[in-house]
């Protein structure tokens, strides 16, 4: 029975695919402290590699072109950090001080609703006692999240040192290292290995470039929108919406929470501001779904939405926020590897003049 399973193309594919998955999972666990800088460096590599190639074609050596790309990266990072970061940090601290007011506003709104229900329908719903525990808890979570957000700003400094170094070595040596590794494949699997690698690399590169452009556009659109309607901390909210947009399906929903809470915190409550905040997100999402996604991301990921959502939940549970971001490209990669392996193994089995079920 076991022999039959391993001889069947499907059984053999599942076995090899499982071994690949276990190896990658082990590597991810071993490298978990460096996972964020490595993922960021690969994303930057996908963006900067074409630039390095252009420089090389202009006659620069691999070292010189990689160094130029590194310098460009450091310059952009320095500019972003010197111009944007103090502004964002200020907005973050404003938001932190506003948080208790947000909960206060929501509590008072709940009390008003309760009073109205009591007066008109004689229904005695003690929203204050019901919500007391929830709001205290939520307040703690919110404050913790914002303090962690501030800590993230500090750990960004570590990333600032690590990411350019890893990116530089990726730009300089990744191709040679990849060739060295793939050339280790046996002659019989050499072409199939390269075929699968190129399909994965092409799709991942398209996805990373697409999602980064999409995230940037979302960030700009929502920042401008929040600024126009006069919401506090518009650029921080825009940046949050952009980052959350990296998570398909779930991210856009999460992105609406913070602006709505801030709009609710206004005293007296201005309903038009809540509506305007929701409209900004909706309009940005509409433009994103109708123009940006079809032209930028297109068919970079051919996965069923349900699989993507389940993947996001599972990866989020395992690796936190970064897990939610990498869930879609990881699933897409696994899909291509599985299909490529199955196609290759099945073709080889079919070629052998043995019964179709065994090879």
């Amino acid at each position: 029975m076991i022999q039959l399973f391993f001889n069947h193309p499907l059984g053999r594919t599942v076995t090899i695919f499982s071994l690949i998955c276990i190896t990658i999972l082990l590597l991810a666990t071993l490298l978990s402290p460096l996972l964020v800088p490595i993922i960021l460096s690969f994303a930057l590599y996908a963006l900067l590699e074409p630039l390095s190639e252009i420089l090389e074609r202009q006659g620069l050596s691999r070292n010189a072109s990689s160094l130029s790309v590194l310098l460009l990266l450091v310059t952009i990072a320095a500019l972003v950090f010197s111009v944007l970061l103090p502004h964002l940090a200020k907005q973050l601290s404003t938001l932190q001080s506003q948080l208790p007011g947000v909960w206060q506003s929501i509590t008072s709104m709940g009390n008003d609703v309760s009073q109205h229900l009591f007066n008109s329908l004689n229904l005695d719903i003690k929203t204050s006692s019901i919500s007391q525990h929830f709001f205290t808890q939520a307040n703690d979570w919110g404050t913790t999240a914002l303090i962690q957000g501030s800590n993230v700003l500090i750990s960004l400094t570590v990333l600032l040192i690590l990411v350019p170094i890893i990116t530089f070595f990726l730009v300089r040596d990744y191709r040679s290292f990849r060739n060295y590794m793939l050339d280790k494949l046996p002659n019989s699997n050499f072409e199939m290995g390269w075929l699968i690698y190129h399909r994965v690399a092409h799709q991942l590169q398209e996805y990373i470039r697409g999602i980064m452009i999409q995230s940037g556009i979302m960030c700009v659109m929502t920042s401008i929108g929040f600024f126009i309607i006069g919401l506090d901390s518009p650029f921080l909210l825009g940046a949050t919406a952009g980052v959350l947009n990296l998570i398909p399906y779930v991210g856009p929903l999460l992105a609406t929470v913070l602006p709505i809470l801030l709009a609710v915190s206004e005293v007296p409550i201005e309903l038009w501001l809540i509506g305007a905040a929701i409209s900004v997100i909706l309009i940005a999402q509409l433009i994103d779904n109708m123009i940006v996604i079809p032209s930028v991301i297109a068919n970079a990921v051919n996965l069923h939405p349900l699989i993507v959502i389940i993947g996001i939940i599972v990866f989020g549970n395992l690796f936190g926020f970064i897990g939610m971001v990498v869930a879609t490209p990881t699933l897409s990669t696994a899909n291509i590897i599985y299909r490529g392996l199955y196609q290759g193994i099945k073709t080889r089995c079919d070629l052998k003049a043995e019964p179709a079920a065994e090879c």
Binding site: D173, S176, D183, E191, W194, H198, Q343, G344, T347, L351
Partner: protein, 163 residues
Amino acid sequence: MNSKHPLWQNLFRPKDDRISEVTEMWMSTPLFEKIPARECRDLVKTMHPRHYKKGEKIFTSGEIGASVILIRSGGVEIKAAEKLLAELSPADFFGEVALILDEPRTADAIATEESELIFFLRSDLDEWVKRSPRSGAQFMLNIAIVLAARLRHTNILLSLQNS
């Protein structure tokens, strides 16, 4: 620091003399006619040398192909349905159909002696065409000429057989 010091050398970088030799070989084939030598040399750096033992299969009819192959040393025979179609020697190339079609190979290729083969992958060709469309177009034209010549040759053989 002296870059020629072994410690500072890039261990993965192929040696230059091999690249020059393979470039010359490719430039002598009709595939690289009218393509600048510098571009061919850059392309050779992305190609993949593989070593085959005598009697080892390079590819089998029905397998998905992804590259055109140049013989640097040794020899290769091409067979279809156990019938010998061609015997190839150094500087010959085969499997060029795989650069155009994402379809199974139509013949078997077997090394007749210890051989070193240079694989030029379709994915590398695609990237090159995007990078240098002018040379890429010339290369495609060259492939079309090679395939047309093969078709013409086959037609003549068939007509000779029929007559």
